[in-house]
């Protein structure tokens, strides 16, 4: 019989921390949003305090939503946000729900119930930004009628993309009455690079209020013991014993009390110790204490809990039934015993799911299992999950189970699928993680595998999207070597093209030209497809930017293939290549305008915003040359709109920077300052060199010599990398 009061009843000895967070919440109800991060060691009560904040906020008529992170879902993209946004969507008014698909189509990837059918993959690059902006916009909208608190619990287990999204929301939350409350274990800092990176950014940008939870004092322990035992005041010897063992860790304290109750060591209304302290065999660590408590359960419960611990901190009854090899009644009896002992509990409102009462319990249980048994159980779980799960997050879970179970073959298969799933949701960090796992295992196998080359190529693409350029280069080069061994010419060409794009992105035209030429040499002559059009356009533009001969031929070839394929978007793209190349040789700008007008028309027909943003910028320069400065500014504004529609951060930043430069000439310096600052903010990842925008901003601020120095830096770098555009612009 468990005589302990539930830990849900009353928050003890955390008044100062609670008041501080509530006062921040109060400021959010009338002012801009804030971010609060609660940190502390395991068992210190972060989640308990955070839940108390949510309860207070609910009493003050706020909306509250929770997204939890679990260790087994560390590599599942957007895991906490899928839970959080799912419940926010359920709570949204009917008109918001019915219009959500139209207003925030990108959210289909995070709230699958929005979709009426399968989500389409967005056909543009940098779509992660679109997804982030849609999330921000959806949350801000929900927070308009009532303030909103979002709890992201156990962020030390969050996937990298979710952490990036938290950072994004933190940057834009000042526009909405939103409190982002996160919890994490400070003991994990140093071991979790993405979390450390996000924290560093939040602190550097002064976006966060940090609340560190310390251990309870002896008085705090006394209050906790009294409250949990339901006694007005607990005996001093008991408090002293518990405090010396648990050292002020609330979870340890509560576990210790539970063990004392279970051992019959406490009695009477005042909960006196009825056994001598010297006679009690109380473990000295929280883990051994947990082990000791579990050992008091029936054997069948213990077995089942160990199996369940491998499913994660939370698990479904159906999945447990499928993997347990016990009959349903036995499983239910075993679970009841664990529920009774408060080792597990039901998450609120869901009686088909179970959760360990604390992550430490789940970790202790799984670590208790010998390696060979753990492996066997992981395999069994993998088999069961493969038959029962169908959602997107299942591939990551399956990969994990099979890899932990030692089934390399299926582990690789599901890791690749998990990578593809993550890539389709623009969760580049998780995609790269899964591809890297699969690739490492594939490379351990004898012989050259076609899969290894393909996975390596996909990994390179994800690293490129993450702007991890040196790693992306190494991955493209490795993919090229793998494809070469397999004599796969198209693969070799794709890898070379990737390397060329990478150098082009760094404005190193000499290297870009070499690799683009190699990609074209290797391209199979019978493959005249959309990829070839894009490759030819890229190669032509690289030649133009680098001042190499032969760009015009390539641009004409791209137009030929595009016209043969009859695709408006491809023709527009090819015309963009033609215009770029002509722009680098002697020509009349007025001739250029007719090509660009036609290309714009085709790209508009195809709603190809990606190409449109480039075309508008190109046409803006052409209009500028003929003295049409108003047309120049109008096109640069259109380029911004198109880049916003296509979701390309780099293009949007570039369009803002170029509009800023044009506005300076027109004397609209206030607006120039605004758009240049926006461009600089968008270029946080420094996809573009910042020198020219920094120079312009310095100029606008009256720091004229700083402006000249920035330009000298740009010019020197452009000379070295043979970047004609950067050189002439800077000079």
């Amino acid at each position: 019989m468990n005589a302990m009061r539930s830990s849900d009843e009353q928050l003890i000895a955390r008044d100062a921390e609670l008041s501080r967070i509530i006062s921040i919440f109060n400021s959010v109800t009338t002012g801009p949003g804030r971010v609060v991060l609660l940190d502390g060691e395991p068992g210190i009560g972060k989640t308990r305090l955070a839940r108390e904040v949510l309860a207070c906020a609910q009493r003050m008529d706020a909306l509250t939503f929770v997204g939890r992170c679990f260790e087994q879902h560390e590599a599942t993209p957007f895991f906490p946000f899928m839970e959080l946004l799912g419940s926010a969507f359920d709570a949204a008014p009917a008109d918001v729900q019915s219009g959500a698909r139209q207003r925030w189509p990108e959210l289909v990837h995070l709230i699958p119930k929005i979709a009426q059918d399968e989500p389409e993959k967005l056909t543009v690059e940098y779509t992660q930004l679109r997804l982030f902006r849609a999330t921000s916009s959806f949350i801000s909208e929900q927070a308009e009628a009532k303030p909103l608190v979002m709890l992201l619990d156990d962020l030390h287990w969050a996937d990298s993309t979710s952490l990036s999204l938290v950072l994004f929301l933190a940057r834009f939350v000042d526009n909405a009455h939103v409190l982002i409350l996160g919890t994490y274990r400070d003991t994990e800092i140093g071991r979790r690079q993405p979390l450390e990176g996000m924290l560093g950014e939040l602190v550097r940008e002064r976006l966060v209020d940090e609340v560190h939870l310390r251990r309870l004092s002896a008085d705090g322990t006394s209050a906790l013991v009294g409250a949990r035992l339901g006694a007005a005041s607990a005996p001093d010897d008991l408090i002293s014993f518990v405090h010396s063992r648990a050292q002020g860790n609330p979870f340890f304290t509560e576990e210790l009390l539970a063990a004392l109750v279970e051992q019959g060591a406490l009695s009477g209304n005042d909960r006196r110790l009825v056994k001598r302290l010297g006679d009690l065999e109380m473990p000295r660590s929280v883990r051994s204490l947990i082990g000791e408590r579990i050992s008091r359960l029936p054997l069948q419960s213990q077995e089942l809990l160990r199996l369940a611990s491998l499913l994660g901190e939370e698990f479904e009854l159906d999945v447990l039934l499928a993997v347990s090899e016990m009959i349903e009644d036995q499983v239910l009896d075993a679970l009841d015993a664990a529920l009774e002992a408060r080792i597990i509990e039901h998450p609120p409102g869901n009686h088909e799911r179970f959760a360990f009462a604390h992550a430490l319990i789940q970790q202790t249980l799984s670590e208790e299992l010998p390696i060979h048994r753990r492996r066997r159980l992981h395999m069994r779980i993998g088999e069961a999950l493969a038959h029962s799960l169908s959602d997107q997050s299942a591939t990551a879970a399956l990969a994990r189970q099979f890899l932990l179970g030692g089934d390399t073959h299926r582990g690789i298969e599901y890791a690749i699928l998990a990578g593809d799933d993550a890539a389709a949701r623009y969760a580049h960090a998780e995609a790269a993680h899964h591809y890297r796992v699969a690739l490492d295992l594939l490379l351990e196998q004898p012989g050259d595998s076609p899969s290894a080359a393909d996975v390596g190529y996909r990994l390179a693409g994800e690293l490129y999207d993450l702007n991890k350029l040196p790693e992306a280069l190494a991955a493209f080069e490795a993919a090229f070597v793998s494809y070469s061994r397999l004599n796969n010419q198209r693969g070799q060409a794709l890898a070379q093209w990737g390397i060329a794009r990478l150098h082009q992105g760094r404005y190193d035209m000499a290297s870009a030209e070499r690799h683009a030429a190699e990609a074209l040499r290797l391209w199979p002559p019978d493959r005249r497809d959309a990829d070839l059009v894009h490759l030819l356009v890229d190669a032509a533009r690289i030649k133009a930017y680098g001042g190499f001969a032969g760009g015009a031929d390539l641009a004409d070839q791209s137009l030929g293939v595009a016209e043969q394929l009859g695709d408006a978007s491809l023709i527009a793209r090819a015309l963009f290549g033609v215009a770029t190349v002509r722009g680098s040789t002697r020509h009349k700008p007025t001739d250029q305008l007719s090509i660009l007008d036609r290309a714009v028309e085709l790209a508009l027909q195809a709603s190809d915003w990606r190409t449109l943003s480039r075309l508008y910028l190109n046409r803006a320069t052409t209009r500028w040359l003929v003295g049409d400065l108003d047309g120049n500014v109008a096109d640069r504004r259109l380029a911004i709109t198109a880049a916003e529609r296509s979701g390309e951060t780099e293009r949007l930043a570039f369009a803002c920077m170029s509009l800023g430069g044009a506005l300076i000439r027109l004397g609209a310096w206030d607006e120039a300052r605004l758009v240049l600052t926006r461009g600089l903010a968008l270029n946080k990842e420094q996809l573009l060199p910042n020198a020219s925008v920094s120079a312009n901003l310095a100029w606008l601020d009256g720091r004229h010599d700083d402006a000249l120095r920035e330009l000298s830096t740009l010019v020197d770098r452009s000379r070295q990398s043979r970047d004609g555009q950067g050189l002439t612009t800077g000079l």
Binding site: Y545, G667, L708, T728
Partner: protein, 239 residues
Amino acid sequence: VQAEFALQLGRPEAAESAAREAFAASQAKWWVVVGLAAGPLADTLAWLGTDDANQMLDDLEGLVNTYGLYIARPQLLRARARLDARGGAFDEALEALKGGAELARSQHAVIDLAQTLALISSIARGTNRQSLATEADAERRAIVERVGPTARPLSWAKGLQLARTHEHHRDVGPLSPRECEVAVLIVGGQSNRHIAESLIISERTVENHVSSILAKLGLDTRGQVAAWAVQHGIAMQSE
């Protein structure tokens, strides 16, 4: 840009090598900007009175006329005026400058116009044409005040009697920075939906901002807001 900035700071000697290299590089590598490089080169060489200034200006005029690179015309006219003035042909110089100013006005090339007006003022004062100088200075003063105080140390803003400013940024009336951003986007012709997307706020918040702008300025329509923003120099008129 380096050459143009140096010229605006009144340092033609610092502009020369950048202007020459920019023009040479644009011809060899990036012809699309040759029209942008031609103007600063002509203006720099004429200002310095280099040996090749006349020949280079003739070549550049030929290039600009052949290819229709009209953006460079106001600067070439300014360069021609500098050379005329060096030779004592002040009437011709002023004629060239008036033509350049007219062209810059029609292109809305405000900074270029200010540079031309500064030269008109200097030559007019030196040749005792006070009313022309006063007229040029009045237009130049309006530009400097519109552009803002950080332009005051630049060569084209010098020699003017300007009102004292204590604020770094020009007063944009009662609007908050966020409302200013919304006003700028209204000038750009953007709908509330697009403004919301641009500023990453909800459409309803944009509606609130627009209502607040209208109330604060005592206006009725978005068009009036756009006109106000252009009038107060916080945004350029879009096409």
